[in-house]
Amino acid sequence: MKPKALAIFAVVALVGSACSNATSSPSGSAAGNTAVKIGVELPLSGGEAPNGGPTLNGIKLAIQQIQVPGYTVTLNTQDDAVNGVNNPDQGAKNIGTLVSDKAVFAVVGPFNSAVAKAEIPISNEAGLIQCSPANTNSTLTLGDTAKQLRQAHPDKIAYVRVVANDDYQGLADATIAFKDLSKKAMYIVDDQTTYGKYLADVVETQFKKMGGTVVKHDGAGTNVSDYTSLLTAAKALNPDVVFYGGVTSTGGGVLRKQMVANGMGGLPFIGGDGISDGAASVASSFLNIAGDQGDIGTWMTVAGAHDIPDRATLAAAYKTAFNAELGAYSAAAYACTQVYLQALKAVGPDREKIRAYVTTTTNSFDTVLGKIGFDANGDINQHIISYFQFDPTTKDWKFVRQNDPTAA
């Protein structure tokens, strides 16, 4: 055992000495500036990298472009994807790491609603504020479920988001079906995840409220790869529109592809932001998997404003910095960072002061998304959903309009 133990120790020592704490970048020191950090908690590896990467870039662009006098702002980046998949336990751990880094005064993230559920109890306890650029699940901010997550300080909000929640998104999706497409009989499939199921349930409720009928609502879990039997059963009930609650990787694209194979390709297909993952040329995106025929007649919504005031400028700056197109959540992440930097300027880097400032409902922030603020639950006070339709000429999603679906 002895030589083995020595060998192990030697390897560990070698590894340890060669690497420093690789997660935080060295703090520069312009004379007199206080070094502070914004924590980042996103999925950055494996299958989630195409989601987390552009989002992180949005944050990087913001701290690059915006200076707060007296402070040097850097990032402490943590990855919550384990084995390529969002992992709530890892997320919780990462928040703990960010809390123990005293220079971190605020956190941007997470991306996935299930991860957020694991993180909110901890950030709430620590009083460290989180701003999510992508979580849409309503139970994170609304109702008893949200309060239960804030076990340590139930009345202190330490979680805000710059996207509308699924109550609005589901309403928007139902509106597309009922008002835009004039359909009356809907077939719903959800992927049995927190996000997908909730969204599908909201769509069902709203569609029925508008006067439509739901012929069938199937829960097809993440392991289902054969939708033919489901589709055959549903086809017999004569739906005229299909809604999918879920993401591409749990079967959205495959479902659409099999719809085509089973003669249901003529039915319009609506999804939420879970299928918003790029053009048909992007490998493994919804449009790519669904196939050329499947893409026709598809719609999707994004829980945020697409047509933002200075989109072109932002996109150009992003392209210069990262040589890529703006990601779906880059602008949202940029906005989160702007909120934090404005708060930093106003009250300094004390965590509690920042948290209080951001969550004060009367405060408003100038961001790329417009002038925004947060309501008493931490939700953004701007409930805008963007609607997209597939464009066969560009083989990509085309922006149709954006509005507050409750006002429409």
């Binding site: 560990v12 020592a13 590894v15 340890g16 000495s17 060669a18 690497c19 420093s20 704490n21 690789a22 590896s45 494996g46 384990v82 084995n83 390529g84 709530p88 336990d89 919780a92 751990k93 703990g96 790491t97 809390v99 123990s100 880094d101 299930a114 559920k117 694991a118 109890p121 901890i122 306890e125 620590a126 139970t139 008893d144 479920t145 309060k147 239960q148 997550l149 076990q151 340590a152 049995q192 995840t193 927190t194 199921k197 909730y198 829960g219 879990g221």
Partner: protein, 393 residues
């Protein structure tokens, strides 16, 4: 049931010196040494990680937080060791008992159920509930051979999360149960999410108690019965061992440890969902047991701890380390291997797979084997070699 009486006797045996298959010693002597060993390790660990290589990876609170989580896996590995290592029954659905323990806590102390029982008695409740399910799983498998047993347990491991996911009214389905109450001590108060020390101490205590009990059982009649069944069930039965109760007890005790770990886990993360208990978890625990040394209590504990730390700290650091080395990409035919871009975290399961295969081929008794197990496994090799010679001759 005489098996239960055996169990009780072995646990509360006096200070009679025993001469057993694993050596001469006093029961109490060994239990004390476990307590001392654990206390020493537990006290030293938070300080060892203040030393240079480790201090660069993470801060002390993070390390201790990691240790508390590692403790959960140590408990799980100890429990699976009873089933797989001691009794030789391959259980591939072990995470199901972990889930049952966690959900028991959720029913006992969360706003979802509306009940708020204290943590400490719930530990026992969780262990008991899991033990009952262990019996329920064990009962139909009694007549099955190793391979079929493995598949049935795998099936059970798949069924339990599906049930939890679908029984919405009882388990809140995929959303899981959140907002669970943290443990509380009379003078100290409620545990905090950010302060890892109380959780760490609790898990160290749980592991110590578990190890003491497991050592006792291992050296008792029950333990020896397990080893007999592991080696040759038919021979054991003909020697008068009641294979039914022995196997059932293996499942029950293994499951109860997982239940214990489940309750602790739930109280620490405060939100659980069916997706935390999938096959990957069962597989990881199995890998820990196999690598650590099936059948050897402290070997399995050490193995579990080491594997967990590698997975949660070192693989991540390995990425950074290799990136700083700046090795160039290598071209072999049409494959380009770029070591500096490799994400070792992603390869975690590949490494586990390779480790499992390698271990089984080269050293099936594990890294820290029990001598008995080593003899068992390599005896088979020698017999095989002898047979080969006979056949070829």
């Amino acid at each position: 049931m005489s098996a239960l009486r055996q169990l009780r006797n072995s646990l509360f045996a006096g200070l009679k010196p025993v001469s057993g298959p694993t050596g001469n010693y006093l029961h109490a002597h060994q239990s004390l040494s476990v307590v001392f060993g654990m206390a020493l390790t537990a006290t030293l660990l938070p300080f060892i990680i203040l030393l240079p290589p480790f201090s660069g990876f993470a801060t002390q609170p993070d390390w201790v937080q990691g240790f508390a989580s590692a403790g959960i896996f140590v408990l799980l590995a100890l429990g699976l060791n009873v089933v797989v290592g001691l009794a030789g029954l391959l259980d591939l659905g072990y995470a199901a008992f972990f889930a049952i323990g966690a959900y028991s806590y959720a029913y006992g102390a969360s706003p979802f159920s509306g009940v708020h029982l204290p943590f400490w008695p719930l530990l026992l409740v969780g262990a008991l509930v899991a033990a009952v399910f262990g019996l329920l799983l064990g009962a139909p498998t009694l007549r099955l051979r190793g391979d079929y047993l493995a598949i049935v347990t795998l099936g059970f491991g798949e069924i339990v999360p599906v049930v939890f996911r679908n029984a919405n009214t009882y388990t809140n389905g995929i959303n899981g149960i959140g907002g669970m109450y943290r443990p509380a001590l009379p003078v100290y108060g409620t545990f905090l999410g950010l302060d890892p020390v109380p959780y760490y101490i609790t898990v160290v205590a749980l592991v110590t108690v578990a190890m003491i009990l497991l050592y006792r059982i291992q050296d008792s009649r029950l333990g020896r019965a397990w080893m007999a069944i592991r080696e040759d069930e038919l021979a054991a039965a003909s020697m008068g061992i009641n294979t039914v109760t022995t196997k059932l007890l293996a499942f029950a005790i293994g499951a109860s440890t997982a239940g214990l770990a489940g309750v602790f886990y739930a109280s620490k993360v405060t939100i659980i969902s069916p997706d935390s208990f999938l096959f990957a978890v069962s597989f990881t625990i199995l890998a820990m047991v196999v690598l650590g040394g099936m059948g050897n209590v402290w070997g399995v504990a050490a193995g579990a701890f080491v594997v967990y730390e590698i997975q949660s700290e070192f693989l991540k650091q390995l990425n950074g380390f290799v990136a700083t080395l700046g090795l160039p990409a290598v071209n072999i035919g049409f494959l380009t291997i770029d070591i500096s871009k490799v994400d070792f975290l992603q390869y975690q399961f590949l490494l586990y797979g390779l480790a499992l295969v390698g271990m089984m081929l080269l050293r099936p008794e594990g890294l820290f084997p029990s001598r008995r197990r080593q003899a068992e496994l390599h005896d088979a090799d020698d017999a095989d070699a002898a047979n080969q010679e006979l056949v070829e001759a």
